[in-house]
Symmetry: C2
Subunit: 355 residues, 2 copies
């Protein structure tokens, strides 16, 4: 993508939002007395939880923000040749839809080539094609996918739009925090902290860029089972380059990208990353679906599980609250990253434990 | 309840909203391109569907509106003696919470007595107790429940707050339409019609009162299997007095009340009632959960199924559109009445068909 990307500053995110705001939903922010009460424990402040519902975003996830912004930064000449990515997840549909919507704005067709492993679920392939993209199949290893992607680039001249590791993607995802901070203020619950899931780190780093210097603390949330690469990396001051995990939070089975790591490993930007067990992710997912009446994918339950069940997170919150004088309440924002799951998948996840 | 209730007019609903607005959520209105496209067919207008999400309301259903309004109309003396109802559904929790919140406003305790059949699901009993109500058990026939309710009234002097058959309940539920009409206008999709589920008819009649004279057509939606009493009643110009049904839309297993029937049977108020099969209710429920990412109970899927699958409704829409000149689009509002279901229930409903 673009060789002279914008700097990673709050001002760049404001600019990004001005470019994409008519193409995305300003998703609602919900509260939940039940979950807030569960998050509040003895010896600490009353917690008010706020949920930024990107599961209600176009394509059912925040990824449309980054993809739309990345395309807005490309020239007509670049877009005529098309865009390409390899993804079997939310980024695939995001890029497909962003290309279709950018076509309408620019007034010429913008081909979107999506490389997907041939073992991808048929519904995801159908959804991606449904947005008008051309789906190209590959093997499922990273090498096989990248080889096919390069071949598409060479054949078509299409621009590669990566899922998270690019400043324009980071800035696009960061727009979610601009909205969230404003909406929370309007609701008289100004945010003290934001907790976001961390896969490749596109959203977490974008949120951190927006919050820097505002006094709003930013935290990451990861599955403990094999996808705790950011947590491990922070402990060892080293970016982990590959992840092998079967966590149910399938959106987070990804190492943090290079651009993302530069932000996330900076303690001024992200105050900490916490991990949670598979069981806690399931408990949190069930609570959100049943009590808040919204459908979320397992990845979105990860920050909820951190806030409800991670002891270390709770101690850090209490400490942060004591430093502020130990008075008042804490307003914690959670980015609900997406809702792309199905009833079939829910039955598969919860079917045995519920009977 | 009150002997001199307010008249069933739009002005009374406006007054009701001014009394309850700080006690309820102004729930969001969502749109869905996917469902709108499915509702649009050959030979008719483009349909834009708007969804008023009362599943995101307090207690997970619109019922809190009517209960809160009914209590706001009672005197301190009446409220000191308490309120009573028999319900195993959303009205039980609505009255329990409304009493607790009214206690805080009035500054004295307001006992809430909820008569529930002893076979009620433990989670519903626990939820009702959780809001501070006293749960009193009865047999499950209408007679047994009413006998116990009368005994509570005699013992305590509590005021009976019925679930739907009272003007103050109707006016309270009608507030949902005031918000919906305004929100749709702000979104540049002014409503042409509203479709609401019909059980006892509290909400449908309230919506009809608000829409009278506005040019917005109001339609009811019922399960075909045994709970089609409003549909049958309109055909035969006779209120059906009892319903025996095992429809999955358990919130609608109820005959229309007397006050409600006076509104619903008036063709100037409600233009028609349509019925849908159990299979169509399930299809619609799955679509809303998976595509819109919100959790709804089966009763809320009934109006969605009418809009998507009822042929007669579609013909009537096309006719209505032709009468208006056959140009432009139709904006149809659906009241999503509640979201009180569980993952366990979803597995029970969809488990076998999904495998």
């Amino acid at each position: 993508m673009s060789k002279t990307p914008l700097p990673l500053t709050r001002a760049s995110v404001v600019e990004a939002l001005s470019l994409i705001r008519f193409s995305i939903h300003k998703t609602p922010v919900l509260t939940s007395k039940t979950l807030s009460a569960l998050a509040t424990r003895e010896g600490g402040p009353k917690i008010n939880l706020l949920f930024k519902c990107e599961n209600l975003q176009k394509i059912g996830a925040f990824k449309i923000r980054g993809a739309t912004h990345a395309l807005a930064r490309l020239s007509d000449d670049e877009l005529r040749r098309g865009v390409v990515t390899h993804s079997s997840g939310n980024h695939a549909q995001a890029l497909a839809l962003a290309a279709r919507e950018a076509s309408a704005v620019r007034g010429f067709p913008i081909p979107a080539y999506i490389v997907m492993p041939h073992i991808s679920t048929p519904s995801k392939i159908a959804a991606t094609k449904g947005y008008g993209a051309e789906v190209i199949f590959s093997g499922s290893t990273a090498d096989e996918r990248e080889t096919v992607t390069r071949a598409v680039q060479e054949r078509t001249g299409a621009v590669l739009v990566p899922p998270y590791d690019h400043p324009h993607i980071i800035l696009g995802q960061g727009t979610v925090a601009l909205e969230f901070i404003d909406q929370a203020k309007e609701m008289w619950f100004p945010l003290d902290a934001i907790v976001a899931p961390c896969g490749g780190g596109g959203m977490l780093s974008g949120v951190a860029v927006v919050c820097q210097g505002t006094g709003i603390a930013v935290y990451g949330a990861e599955p403990r089972e094999g996808a705790d690469d950011a947590w491990w990396g922070l402990k060892n001051r080293l970016r982990v380059e590959s992840v092998k995990s079967l966590t149910i939070a399938d959106g987070l089975r990804t190492p943090v990208g290079v651009n993302n790591w530069a932000v996330i490993s900076d303690l001024d930007m992200v105050k900490g990353v916490y991990t949670v067990s598979e069981g806690d992710i399931m408990r949190a997912m069930k609570l959100v679906i049943e009590r808040m009446k919204i459908l979320i994918e397992p990845s979105s339950a990860v920050p909820v599980a951190v806030v409800l069940y991670n002891e270390e997170f709770w101690s850090d919150m209490v400490e942060c609250w004591r430093e502020k004088g130990g008075r008042g309440e804490l307003n914690i924002g959670i980015v609900v990253s997406g809702g792309n799951t199905t009833i079939e998948k829910i039955i598969e996840l919860f079917g045995s434990s519920e009977k």
